[in-house]
């Protein structure tokens, strides 16, 4: 029972990350490999703030902002749109610098935990859209495979920079809540409930966003038909930025929630991202509920194998992917091919 609980809680986190992966993939066709990294950055940053150390994420965001601004400025100048430069300064320099400045200032201060959490989220938010601007928007129409390769390259670059910014030590933020609940004879920690609750809330939030808001519909439209979106005036680049922003929010949330449970270091996000990706693949990579369920299944599988022999935990999870992929391709090889055709 405890194992199932543990598995579902971890699975909930994987589900959050998997939702982000699917979202970004559907809108931009990018399999965002560095996504898991953001989870670790969020956790490390919160831990740093709690210990009154400056989070390395500040420098990372500033670096990305500078690069993104250069990319944007060059594009604008080459197209002869110099008058749009002030807007670029605002969007790509000032806006991302804002949470950095706040984080810088509050580091030595004794501020409420909630403020630290909000600032951490605000620091994680710009990372994904900035990476999108630097690495993916310039090649938005490239084949999925090229985008994937670029994503892998970005991941390795990020890992290197993250080592410089965060250092090699792991850190663990305080649990968001220390509460323990007893339901019948089952003991549940508040943190577990929080993880579950956040995953459910984020899923419902996404559902409402896509079904009810105009921006959500525009994102879906871009995912379904890019040309169709363009001829009604929706810019795929802006839709992509929104998708990456939402994904960063999901990654940030996951990092805050999983951080107190597992010690993360600068590069441990990769495995989280990979497991979530496997979950998303089990769900077909194009379905939000599918991805969420797949991710929870991975969490459970992992928790049960870890109990029998923790050395095998990763092996089983990734080996589990093989039969799933085979079954999937047998069941709906046709559908998958059709989907790829459309891409």
């Amino acid at each position: 029972m405890l194992l199932a609980q543990d598995g579902i809680a971890t699975g909930a986190i994987y589900a959050l990350v998997a939702l982000g992966i699917v979202l970004v993939f559907l809108v931009t066709r990018v399999i965002f490999v560095p996504f898991g990294d953001l989870v670790a950055y969020a956790s490390l940053s919160l831990a740093a703030l709690e210990e009154n150390r400056r989070p390395g994420l500040i420098w990372l965001v500033l670096l990305l902002a500078g690069l993104a601004f250069l990319t944007e400025a060059l594009t604008l100048l080459r197209a002869g749109h110099a008058r749009l430069l002030p807007r670029a300064v605002l969007l790509y320099l000032l806006l991302p610098a804002l949470p950095c400045a706040v984080a810088y200032v509050i580091t030595p201060m004794d501020v409420p935990d909630l403020l630290r959490i909000v600032v951490t989220l605000a620091l994680v938010l710009p990372t994904a859209p900035l990476l999108y601007r630097i690495a993916f928007r310039p090649i938005a129409d490239a084949p999925v495979l090229v985008l994937l390769i670029v994503a892998v390259v970005v991941h390795f670059a990020m890992t290197g920079i993250a080592l410089l910014c965060f250092g090699p030590e792991g850190a663990r933020p305080r649990p968001l809540t220390g509460a323990i609940f007893e339901i019948g004879d089952i003991i549940v920690s508040g943190q577990t409930l929080l993880m579950l609750g956040a995953a459910v809330a984020a899923s419902i939030g996404l559902l409402v966003f896509f079904a009810r808001t105009l921006t959500g519909r525009a994102l879906r439209a871009t995912a379904i038909n890019r040309v169709g979106a363009r001829i009604v005036g929706i810019r795929p680049g802006e839709a992509g930025t929104t998708a990456f922003l939402l994904a960063a929010l999901l990654a940030g949330l996951s990092g805050l929630l999983i951080g107190p449970v597992t010690t993360l270091v600068y590069d441990s996000g990769f495995v989280i991202g990979l497991k979530s990706f496997v979950g998303a693949i089990i769900g077909g990579l194009v379905s939000y509920p599918g991805a969420a369920l797949g991710a929870v299944a991975i969490g459970l599988l992992e928790s049960f194998t870890a109990f029998y022999d923790s050395a095998f935990k990763e092996v089983v999870v990734f080996a589990g992917l093989v039969p799933v992929l085979i079954i999937r391709s047998l069941l709906q090889g046709q559908a998958v091919e059709d989907a790829e055709e459309e891409l």
Binding site: I224, N225, V227, I231, G233
Partner: protein, 239 residues
């Protein structure tokens, strides 16, 4: 001159093959201008270039402004809207959502969206009946209506229609051309590409004949209708 759209010596190429070779045409505000021609003449290519979907050489002037360096989205923003031959509907979304997104350019104007819905549903009651249905499950005719309706939601000033009657039953073809004539009455200018040359020329003010990427003939639509060269090739012999 009060041309809303003017193309001057426009060239469009796929790789090294030129599909449109030096086309010039002019569309006076408030009129219907049609481009007819055989399969593969370059009509779709021409419209895609005018909409900004394909890069082109030459000059395109819209509303007195050179469109060089203006992307598709900015052209839509300025009221230059395309209904492409391939329709490009949002297949997995409902009819209503497709229409709503058609009004993207008007998104800050709630009243315009509401009146857009009212207008489209009045023109195409079939769409109103099927508002919750997914666009991908519509019949061919309903899809054309939806594509046209989606473009109308953006309140275009210039509507470029690529074969709006493609593959439709005669009764619906008549309905579509009726709608086109009606739109002209409301002040929308229309650039109409058609295989159905007779219907196109009957509803248009001016016509161009495009053959292998070049304009071979042009004139007021009713003159073209009675031109023996057009009659022989595009109107199925005499009458």
């Amino acid at each position: 001159m009060s041309a809303l759209l003017e193309a001057r010596d426009v060239h469009v190429a796929y790789g090294r093959v030129e599909a449109v070779r030096g086309v010039s045409l002019s569309l006076p505000a408030g009129q219907i201008v049609t481009v007819i021609g055989p399969n593969g003449a370059g009509k779709t290519t021409l419209l895609a270039a005018l909409a900004g979907l394909l890069p082109s050489r030459g000059q395109v002037i819209y509303d007195g402004r050179d469109l060089a360096g203006t992307d598709v989205e900015d052209r839509v923003e300025a009221g230059l809207c395309l209904v492409p031959e391939s329709r490009e509907l949002f297949a997995d979304m409902s009819v209503e959502d497709n229409l709503l997104l058609g009004g993207w350019r008007m998104r800050r104007d709630k009243a315009a969206i509401a009146s857009g819905f009212a207008e489209v549903y009045e023109r195409f009651p079939r769409l109103a009946e099927r508002r919750r249905q997914l666009a991908g499950t519509l019949s061919g005719g309903e899809r054309q209506m939806l594509a046209l309706g989606r473009a109308l939601m953006g309140k275009p000033r210039l509507l470029m229609l690529d074969e709006p009657s493609l593959g439709l039953a005669p009764l619906i073809v008549r309905e579509i051309f009726h709608t086109i004539a009606d739109l002209r009455g409301t002040g929308v200018s229309i650039l109409l590409v058609e295989q159905n040359a007779r219907a196109a020329l009957e509803s248009a003010d001016y016509g161009y004949v495009l053959e292998t990427g070049e304009i071979t003939l042009s004139g007021p639509a009713d003159e073209l209708l009675h031109d023996p060269r057009v009659a022989a090739t595009y109107l199925g012999g005499h009458t």
